[in-house]
């Protein structure tokens, strides 16, 4: 049960990141440096978020959904977006096309997120004799998170890096970016406010991540076309 199950869950959680890196042209252009830098920026962002949460948030006794607290958490979540902005624009990257830049940043971001949030529970929990479905679901969640991160990075790069965007698409881009950025709040509302079980929440995350990925892909390719 023990190490085998841990190995299975580990490849489910971290495998797609490696596969993504090797399968797409990212490996050809050697964008590992960008990904690593993005991961470090994520670490910094996480620390800042932690400090803000500790300072401003109150711990509630019951596990219910408190709108005020959730709003506060969402606002602090926007620090995520600020971090992404920093990673995309301020860091010096080697001369790589914008197309690959956002992918590399998104990948590094998602990998750091998975490691920080999922490695420790996996190590402590999945190696025991007791079997639960939790770690497999957590792996699926990591997959959804990867897709979401890349789409968020795509939308962010559209917002800040591309100067000539068709006017009509701008509000759509901002709207989609807003939805993706507030995904954590939405999932926590579903889990606590509506009382959805973990498998259902993970299913919802997977579905929305695919949908948002598709939409952002369409938006990106639409912006690629030279404006007539």
């Amino acid at each position: 049960m023990t190490m085998f199950h841990f190995f299975n869950c580990a490849i489910l959680t971290f495998g797609p990141h490696a596969v993504y890196y090797s399968a797409t042209p990212l490996s050809e252009y050697d964008t590992l440096g960008t990904s690593v830098k993005a991961a470090v920026v994520y670490l910094g962002t996480a620390l800042v978020k932690l400090v803000c949460l500790a300072t401003f948030l109150q711990v509630s006794e019951n596990d219910g959904f408190d709108p005020y607290q959730e709003l506060l958490k969402a606002l602090i979540g926007f620090i995520d977006v600020a971090g992404l902005y920093f990673a995309l624009t301020q860091l010096t990257h080697r001369n790589i096309s914008q197309n690959h830049k956002f992918q590399a940043v998104g990948l590094g971001w998602a990998f750091a997120d998975s490691v920080l949030h999922r490695l420790a529970p996996l190590w402590v929990g999945a190696r025991g004799l007791e079997f639960t479905w939790d770690y497999i679901l957590q792996g699926l969640e990591a997959n959804a998170n990867l897709v979401l991160s890349i789409s968020l990075a795509a939308l962010a790069s559209l917002i800040w890096l591309r100067k000539n965007k068709p006017k009509t698409l701008i509000p759509i881009i901002y709207a989609c970016a807003g939805i993706v950025a507030t995904m954590p709040s939405i999932t926590s509302y579903l889990r606590r406010g509506l009382g959805w079980y973990f498998p259902k929440v993970v299913g919802f995350e997977l579905f929305t991540s695919l949908v948002m990925a598709f939409i952002s892909w369409q938006l990106f390719s639409a912006c690629q076309r030279p404006s007539a």
Partner: protein, 559 residues
């Protein structure tokens, strides 16, 4: 200089972080079980070199219930048997025919637990008592080469058992490939208890010596053995055998010490109270205690009354003797008891059992006295002498099986008879320990001692020299007697005991190995599909195909 200091500080803080990390990594295996239960192991002992009891302690096998498919291989499974489904013939078959089994776990009803059961009523007392006695007899006298444990039923275990029964009914006993429940008890190999000690406590109450009387005053001894023996030593509280005897002895000591505290009412007899250990082992402790006496003291003992199981009788008690009933002393003792018994509206019978010096088996405590030519008798509710390791405080001998009123009446009988003999009031209708007097029997005293005894397992090899319970007995006796002595002896050489009497059982719900393999297959194919999908969408189908085409051979180029 400053930078060097700073860097060492940084390094030190790093060390603490690394140390923390190591601790975290090491602490992983701490319990994450579906349920954790306290379990009590079957006793393990050697008698004259022959092994008895359960010879193993550690457990790490799959669980099965009694509804396992016939013909299944159980050599690596633990059978969980609740008491209500126990079939003695089935267990006896398994043990006597030495069929291979991974382990046995017996589930006892929660009412029998002295920690949680409390004072709830036991349904079908007699049936349960008989069943438990039979099970105990079978287990204690067999040599079982796998772990046997007892546990009390609670909600966790009940749900687990129901689940196991469901799985078994579907014809799938739990093995490594089909999942199910795994029972894990991580203990070390049981070790021998080095030189087990038995502790005898004696209390001496001096009688009134008349001036100019050079001779030693005669002595009357009242003895009870306080240790127990049972199938599960951690559960052997022996409320009736012999908790009732101890509570009675302490109450008698209290009453007589009240009389003796005043010189005007002090009798012309010395009183010797003995709390002996080693009872289940042919009253080994009593023998050693008596042997340690001065010859003169032994000769001065007029007679000794031994108390054994006086807690659950209705109307009849027995006095067991080894000297023939025609003996003058025996007649005197029996008449004294009978007179008091008549007044108290109960019956006392006399039973004579000759002792056989060559037979090492000693069934009653008075026999040890008789072997040293001291007149003695045992007062007991049992009419027949118990066999070896029977009636020594087993699984069923808990608080619910003892009746305080019976003990109170027993105390009145003994105290009154003794007092009439001491003060020379035999045959006279005088009530010394009348109710409502200052010398009345105190029910609360008896009850509190009985409660304490019913929560203290007292198997002698597992009681250390300075065990708090033994110290408490000594202190209590010291309150009533003039002089208290404690004697430590080693238990007779033919018995060897092994430790590890209780443990914690972890019940894990495990998935089978096939499940893991299946999951690996699924994940592998998922990653491969993802890889191909990404290659196709980002680089085109040609790239994918080119990954599999072999590069053109060198030979062709150089040709």
């Amino acid at each position: 200089m400053a930078t060097l200091k700073k860097s060492t500080e940084l390094l030190e803080s790093m060390y603490s972080v690394i140390a923390l990390l190591f601790i975290l990594v090491a602490c992983v295996e701490l319990c994450d079980a579906a349920a954790a239960v306290d379990v009590y192991r079957l006793i393990q002992y050697d008698m004259s070199g022959s092994p008895f009891g359960s010879r193993f302690a550690a457990l790490n096998h799959h669980a099965a219930s009694l509804s396992f498919p016939p013909g299944a291989d159980l050599s690596r499974t633990v059978l969980i048997i609740p008491l209500r489904e126990l079939n003695i013939t089935f267990v006896r078959e398994y043990i006597t025919q030495k069929k291979p089994l991974g382990g046995l776990l017996f589930l006892l009803p929660e009412v029998l637990s002295f920690k949680h059961g409390g004072n709830k009523q036991v349904h079908e007392k007699e049936k349960m008592k008989k069943l438990l006695a039979e099970l105990e007899r079978l287990l204690v006298h067999s040599n079982i080469p796998y772990p046997v444990y007892f546990a009390f039923e609670n909600d966790d275990i009940d749900t687990v058992l129901a689940d196991i029964k469901k799985n078994d009914a579907m014809g799938q006993p739990a093995t490594a490939t089909t999942g199910g429940y795994k029972l894990v008890i991580p203990t070390a190999e049981p070790k021998k208890v080095a030189s087990p000690t038995i502790t005898n406590i004696q209390g001496w109450l001096s009688g009134l010596k008349a001036d100019g009387d050079a001779n030693q005053l005669p002595t009357i001894a009242i003895v009870a053995s306080y240790d127990t023996f049972g199938a599960a030593p951690a559960l052997s509280v022996g409320s009736d055998s012999n908790g009732s005897g101890i509570a009675a002895l302490l109450e008698i000591a209290r009453l007589l010490s009240l009389l003796y505290s005043n010189p005007k009412t002090r009798g012309r007899y010395n009183l010797l109270f003995g709390l002996t250990s080693g009872g289940p082992y042919n009253y080994n402790g009593t023998q050693k205690w008596l042997r340690s006496f001065d010859q003169r003291l032994r000769e001065s003992i007029d007679y000794a009354i031994c108390l054994n199981s006086i807690g659950s009788w209705d109307n009849e008690l027995w006095i067991h003797v080894s000297k023939p009933p025609e003996n003058a002393y025996i007649k005197q003792i029996f008449e004294g008891f009978s007179n008091v018994a008549e007044e108290l509206d109960l019956k006392v019978g006399l039973k004579h059992k000759k002792i056989n010096i060559s037979n090492p088996r000693v069934a009653w405590e008075h026999e040890q006295f008789s072997r040293l030519r001291v007149t003695a008798a045992t007062l007991s509710e049992l009419s027949v002498a118990p066999e070896l390791f029977e009636g020594t405080g087993g699984l069923f001998d808990g608080r619910q099986y003892v009746n305080e009123t019976a003990i109170i009446r027993g105390v009145k009988l003994v105290a009154e008879s003794l007092a009439r003999h001491i003060y020379g009031h035999q045959g006279k209708n005088v009530q010394i320990f009348a109710d409502e007097s200052s010398l009345a029997v105190n029910p609360a005293y008896i009850r509190s001692w009985l409660d304490l005894l019913s929560q203290t397992p007292r198997v002698a090899p597992f009681l250390s020299k300075n065990d708090p319970f033994v110290m408490a007995l000594k202190k209590e006796l010291a309150d009533h007697a003039d002089e208290v002595n404690v004697q430590h002896e080693n238990l007779e050489g033919i018995f060897t005991f092994y430790d590890s009497t209780n443990a914690r059982l972890n019940i894990h719900q495990v998935a089978s190995v096939t499940f893991d393999l299946l999951l690996l297959l699924v994940l592998g194919s998922y990653l491969i599909v993802l890889f191909c999908f990404l290659v196709i969408t980002t680089r085109g189908v040609d790239e994918l195909i080119s990954l599999f085409r072999r590069p053109p051979s060198r030979k062709v180029k150089t040709a």
